[in-house]
């Protein structure tokens, strides 16, 4: 499997090439090069997945972990060292497939969406960089390599959010994303260092004596690592960057902020899952509660947003909350007894990546057609954009959890795992699933049905997107339709043994009913041209509506804490100290030197003969002293 190194090298080379040549390349050449490379990477990933799973299980019934590449990168003293390499196991292979597929689709889609943009080549260079770093993250052989690529995806995300660098909102959004995730990554780094210090290794699976020695600090280390994961995966209260990140180009939102990068936190928890379950089950349950709260919070906010990309962003946060909950409710590593959530989470990650990328790409087509993100500019678009309409509907049904689309299967597994953990968690998550169905169909009706903005649409008739944009939509819709039937448990499960997925119809029936109820409610409220019910509800609960519209003022709280408390009470006095005491001392020294120089500058007459007198006098003095002494 040595060829797997190409999966990382090819996008890297294309990044270097497109990045260095820049505008010397014609846009179409740069795009074609990036797309071809990503296509090749996708083929390689599929081939890797095929040959990995085709190689079969070993004697103990699990797919063996392989490391086709692993070299020592930074040796420290003792046994501690940082390796770089490629690790293949069921989840990393699954992620390779997800990332390369979505990335390839986004590359194709961007041909149409970004056509004629300034910086087209730069865009493709950054996409290649992102693809490389994300693939490197999932195949990391140790936690430190993961951290290195983790930061690289952070950088690519920053670069792509700020792609329209002349737009102030985009610039501040990119900064916000970078700073918030960096802040969270501080926790991740400290966690890694604690982990490395006490276990003596950065590997994902240290041997038993090392773990025994580190038993008491492992919960702390894993909890700190989860902070990093929470930042990247936009868990409450570190979610504030993700809605703003929607300032980036829409395909970027589809690739980075919906399908791949934001699930890195989930992947991290899944990667460390054996340690979590063995040494820190309490931390795992905390993750479940954080995830559940985030899912609920984001779902409520998504119900009232009017910017379609923001609705999708909050829906992403909510769905990642689902995945975190699924991981968090695990109580053992046996999928038949409390370990179902691991498989459910990975399954949902897989299906969610496909249908959420589809939703974002669909939203991109709509934005392309009406030149606005606001729902008020849409309505009734089904007549103009049939392909987008159908594929968007498929994705909405999938995320709502309607049989037989992929979202139904994965969400059902999550709910089953939650009910297995505690009935309360199960019912709460079921309710959130209902909310999901409601806000997704609110979005759907507001875009494609409801009140049409005729004024705008006659001035500029919306049109179906070009082929380069609709083909990825159709492909992803096909995947969304089919993915539920993948026997996912056969490939990925918490202890590696084959797990045969069976639908628990008592759970499934409830979740289907709730989803249908959510859709029905949305239909009742938003299907028709006049939205009496919705408006009167918004009127009646105007306080709640306004709070949710402003995302419950979390950003304002952050603003208050940073500006009023940290900046005003800590940073300003510290800055004063630095400017007046530290700098003041140095300035005093400089000033003193300068004053004395001014005082003695008359000695420097510029007259060589005066210098010679001094010189001669000095020599004579020395001569006299020497004569007297010796």
């Amino acid at each position: 499997m040595e060829y797997t190194i190409l999966i990382l090298l090819l996008p890297f080379l294309s990044f270097i090439l497109i990045g260095l040549l820049g505008t010397r390349l014609r846009p179409v050449v740069a795009g074609a090069a990036g797309t071809a490379v990503t296509g090749l990477v996708a083929v390689l990933s599929y081939w890797t997945a095929f040959s990995y799973f085709a190689a079969g299980r070993d004697a103990s019934g699990v797919f063996p972990t392989q490391m086709p590449w692993n070299f020592e990168w930074l040796p420290f003293g003792g046994s501690l060292q940082i390796d770089m390499g490629i690790l293949l196991d069921p989840i990393s292979v699954m992620m390779l497939v997800v990332i390369s597929t979505v990335s390839f689709m986004v590359h194709i889609y961007s041909f149409g969406y970004m056509k004629g943009e300034r910086g087209f080549q730069r865009y493709y260079a950054f996409l290649s960089l992102f693809t490389m770093s994300m693939l490197g993250l999932v195949v990391a052989t140790n936690i430190f390599q993961m951290y290195v690529f983790w930061e690289l995806v952070g950088v690519s995300s920053y670069l792509l959010i700020g792609f329209y660098y002349t737009k102030p909102e985009a610039v501040s959004a990119s900064k916000k994303a970078f700073i918030v995730t960096r802040f969270a990554d501080l926790g991740f780094l400290v966690g890694i260092l604690v982990y490395g210090f006490y276990t003596g290794t950065f590997s994902f699976s240290p041997d038993a004596p090392a773990l025994g020695a580190a038993k008491t600090v492992l919960p702390l280390a894993l909890g700190l690592m989860f902070i990093g994961g929470a930042g990247k995966s936009a868990m409450f209260p570190l979610h504030i960057w993700l809605p703003d990140a929607m300032e980036g180009p829409t395909p970027v939102s589809a690739l980075i902020h919906a399908a791949t990068m934001v699930v890195a936190g989930v992947y991290l928890v899944a990667r460390m899952f054996p340690l979590f379950i063995g040494y820190a089950p309490d931390v795992l349950h905390v993750i479940a509660y954080v995830g559940a709260f985030t899912a609920l919070y984001a779902a409520t906010v998504a119900c009232v947003q009017t910017d379609i990309k923001r609705v999708l962003a909050f829906s992403t946060i909510s769905q990642i909350g689902f995945m975190m909950v699924a991981l968090g409710v695990c109580t053992s590593s046996d999928p038949h007894a409390g370990g179902l959530g691991y498989m459910a989470s990975m399954f949902h990650l897989f299906t969610h990546a496909m249908f959420k990328a589809l939703l974002f790409l669909g939203a991109g087509c709509i934005i392309h057609a009406v030149h606005s993100n606001e729902m008020s500019a849409m309505g009734g678009l089904r007549k103009y954009m049939p392909v987008t309409h159908i594929t968007f509907l498929v994705a909405c049904l999938a995320i709502a959890g309607i049989w037989p689309l992929s979202g139904f299967f994965s969400k059902d597994e999550i709910l089953a795992a939650c009910f297995g953990f505690s009935p309360v968690m199960g019912w709460v998550m079921t309710a959130i699933a209902g909310l999901t169905a409601f806000y997704m169909f609110r979005l759907y009706y507001n875009i494609f049905w409801g009140k049409e903005n005729r004024e705008l649409h006659t001035a500029h008739t919306p049109h179906e997107a070009p082929k380069t944009m609709t083909v990825p939509l159709i492909f992803l819709a096909a995947v969304t339709l089919a993915a539920g039937w993948i026997p996912f448990g056969e490939f990925v499960s918490s202890n590696g043994q084959a797990y045969h997925i069976h639908i628990d119809w008592s759970v499934a029936a409830v979740s289907l009913c709730v989803a249908v109820a959510g859709i029905a409610l949305a239909t009742w409220m938003y299907f028709r041209e006049d939205r009496k019910v919705a408006d009167s509800l918004a009127e009646k609960f105007s306080g709640l509506h306004k709070a949710a519209y402003h995302r419950f003022y979390i950003d304002e709280i952050y603003q208050f804490i940073t500006h009023r408390i940290i900046f005003a009470c800590i940073s300003t006095p510290v800055a004063w100290f630095d400017r007046h005491i530290v700098d003041g001392f140095m300035n005093m020294l400089a000033k003193g030197t300068e004053c004395s120089s001014w005082a003695i500058r008359y000695i420097q007459s510029g007259n060589i003969q005066k210098y010679c007198i001094w010189f001669l006098g000095g020599v004579l003095c020395l001569a006299v002293i020497l004569l007297l002494v010796f």
């Binding site: 500058r601 420097q604 007459s605 510029g606 007259n607 060589i608 003969q609 010679c612 007198i613 001669l616």
Partner: protein, 102 residues
């Protein structure tokens, strides 16, 4: 035979005449001549010490020949500089040469 001290007295006088001239004269050419006096006094010392203290050897003679050659070259350079100064400020009085001071 003239004793060694006589030569040394002459060379010491030449040396201090040169130093005095270098310090008091305000004309660059006069200063240059004073420098030459100092150099020549040193040459005399070399020769004299070689002749009286190390009669079998030649280092002192050759060193003074070497110093004469060097001083000729140095004088040529100095004259060139002085000519250029004259072209620039129409003067070779050293008191007018403090233009490049701060």
């Amino acid at each position: 035979m003239i004793p060694m001290e006589y030569y040394l007295v002459v060379s010491t006088i030449m040396m201090f005449v040169g130093v005095y001239g270098f310090l008091t004269r305000r004309n660059l050419l006069a200063m240059l001549i004073s420098v030459e006096l100092i150099l020549n006094s040193v040459d005399i010392n070399f020769v004299v010490f070689n002749r009286f203290l190390f009669p079998g050897q030649l280092e002192g003679f050759f060193f003074s020949l070497f110093a004469i050659g060097i001083s000729a070259a140095e004088t040529a350079v100095a004259i060139a500089i002085i000519i250029n100064i004259y072209r620039n400020i129409r003067n070779i009085q050293v008191k007018n040469l403090d233009k490049m001071k701060w």
